[in-house]
């Protein structure tokens, strides 16, 4: 069963939202709301209202990364201090905590930042190849709605998009 991609470009964000709302309401056969992707030049957190809540998981990476960084730092540093070549510093223990905490703190942040970025790439599925249906207009000022659906649904998509003053509708044969 082949699916087809359809990209509609809108000038106005409100129209695009309305189009999405209508797509959802229309309950088109052969189309799942999960197959709808909104493309925009700026972020529109409002779309969650129509797209539904989609959880973000980057923060888990952050948590794990930061903790790992901290633990790694502390044990790397303390372990190195407990090396065979103990560097005895007059008046100080071989494993002094205050300096180690400073380094732990730095590595806490470093770990957090690195793994967060890693998490971002994983969660946002980047780097990725651009999808076939992409318009440079999206990065300029237009809102794009990319839908994937059965061929039977194409007509319905088009109707809805046209209704909401889509500037342009591109389509491509899906696999």
């Amino acid at each position: 069963m082949s699916k087809r991609h359809l990209l509609a470009l809108f000038n106005d964000f409100d129209e695009a939202v309305a189009a999405i709302a209508e797509l959802r309401a229309a309950n088109i056969k052969g189309f799942n709301m999960d197959d709808l992707i909104l493309k925009s030049p700026i972020e529109h957190p409002e779309v969650e209202l129509v797209l539904g809540d989609k959880p973000v998981n980057v923060q888990w990476f952050t948590l794990i990364g930061a903790c790992t960084g901290a633990l790694l730092a502390f044990f790397l540093v303390s372990g190195a201090q407990a090396n065979f070549f103990a560097q005895i510093k007059g008046g100080k223990p071989i494993v002094p905590l205050p300096p180690n905490f400073v380094l732990t703190y730095e590595m806490f942040i470093l770990g957090g930042v690195f793994i967060t970025i890693l998490g971002f790439l994983i969660c946002a599925a980047l780097p990725a190849k651009r999808s076939a249906l992409y318009s440079a207009k999206v990065s300029e000022d237009q809102i794009g709605i990319l839908v994937k659906g059965d061929e039977s649904a194409v007509a319905a998509f088009k109707a809805i998009f046209t209704k909401h003053k889509a500037l342009e509708i591109q389509e491509e044969a899906g696999k």
């Binding site: 044990f75 372990g79 407990a82 090396n83 005895i88 510093k89 008046g91 071989i94 494993v95």
Partner: protein, 284 residues
């Protein structure tokens, strides 16, 4: 090794070094300098040049403060507004104080300066990267940096003067910090001899170069742990305790004072060099 080692011996690694709970076991090298005997003749300083391969930097570099005198004689005046310095000068031989809690040790980024088990403040030339933080943090400013590559500098050790160099220790190249070592090459040699004979170093068996030449015998050097050592007796008699930053005797009012003191003790560096105050007769 390390992390398992770290966890198993955690309490050892958390122990301050050295401390009252973990004192020096066999050796703690220390010095005392009697300023009343010191005449400021500079013999110690020259001895240090001879023993420790110190470069003679010449006038121009000396003018820029690049001199290398591990043992330097400072000369102070106290004639505040008097017409003449009629009580003479105060000479002070200043060398690395081998602080028990040395400010230089903690700040070296590469760990080139450490505390040794026998209570020395070590400086490892080949580890040094030349950040000079140690000297920035040394209140006595007794560390000397190799601002130039003296072994190849003209007229520092021209042929055949380089034959005088002591092969027992490195000749330092540029970019390396150096300082008084308490003649560690002599200490290690005599500790080695003692060890071969299955004993500890006897007092007087090893002398630092400055102590050895001092015409008035103002410098005493030895093992503070050894109860028979003169240096230890002096410290004890003068009631100067190595591990205290404020000697209780200083607070007491006594008819006869004790002369022992350590320089800039209040910075809590716990120096291993005790000075004995200079005296002046009041009857003339």
């Amino acid at each position: 090794m390390s992390i398992t080692n770290l966890l198993t011996n955690w309490s050892d690694f958390r122990q301050q070094h050295p401390s009252a709970a973990h004192p020096h076991r066999e050796y703690k090298w220390a010095m005392s300098i009697d300023l009343d005997s010191c005449t400021g003749c500079n013999a110690c300083s020259v001895a240090c040049y001879a023993e420790n391969n110190l470069p003679v930097v010449g006038k121009e570099k000396f003018a820029h403060g690049h001199s290398h005198h591990w043992m330097r004689i400072e000369r102070y005046w106290d004639n505040d507004g008097r017409e003449f310095a009629d009580q003479g000068a105060q000479f002070l031989p200043m060398l690395c104080q081998h602080c028990e809690s040395a400010p230089c040790e903690t700040v070296c980024p590469v760990g080139a300066t450490n505390h040794t088990a026998d209570g020395l403040n070590s400086q490892v030339y080949n580890r040094c990267v030349g950040s000079r933080y140690c000297n920035a943090n040394c209140p006595y400013k007794v560390r000397y940096f190799n601002w130039y590559n003296y072994p190849t500098t003209e007229n520092v050790w021209p042929e055949p003067m380089n034959q005088q160099l002591n092969p027992d220790l490195s000749v330092r190249s540029k970019g390396v910090m150096e300082k008084c070592t308490f003649c560690v090459q002599r200490l290690r040699a005599s500790m080695n001899d003692a060890r071969t004979q299955g004993r500890l170093v006897i007092d007087g068996e090893v002398q630092t170069a400055c102590q050895q030449v001092c015409p008035t015998g103002a410098i005493t050097f030895g093992n503070l742990v050894d109860p028979s050592a003169k240096v230890g007796k002096q410290w004890k008699q003068q009631q100067v305790d190595l591990n205290i930053d404020k000697q209780p005797k200083d607070a007491e009012e006594k008819a006869a004072k004790l002369r022992g003191y350590r320089i800039l003790e209040e910075l809590r560096t716990y120096p291993s060099v005790m000075y004995l105050e200079q005296l002046r007769e009041s009857a003339v």
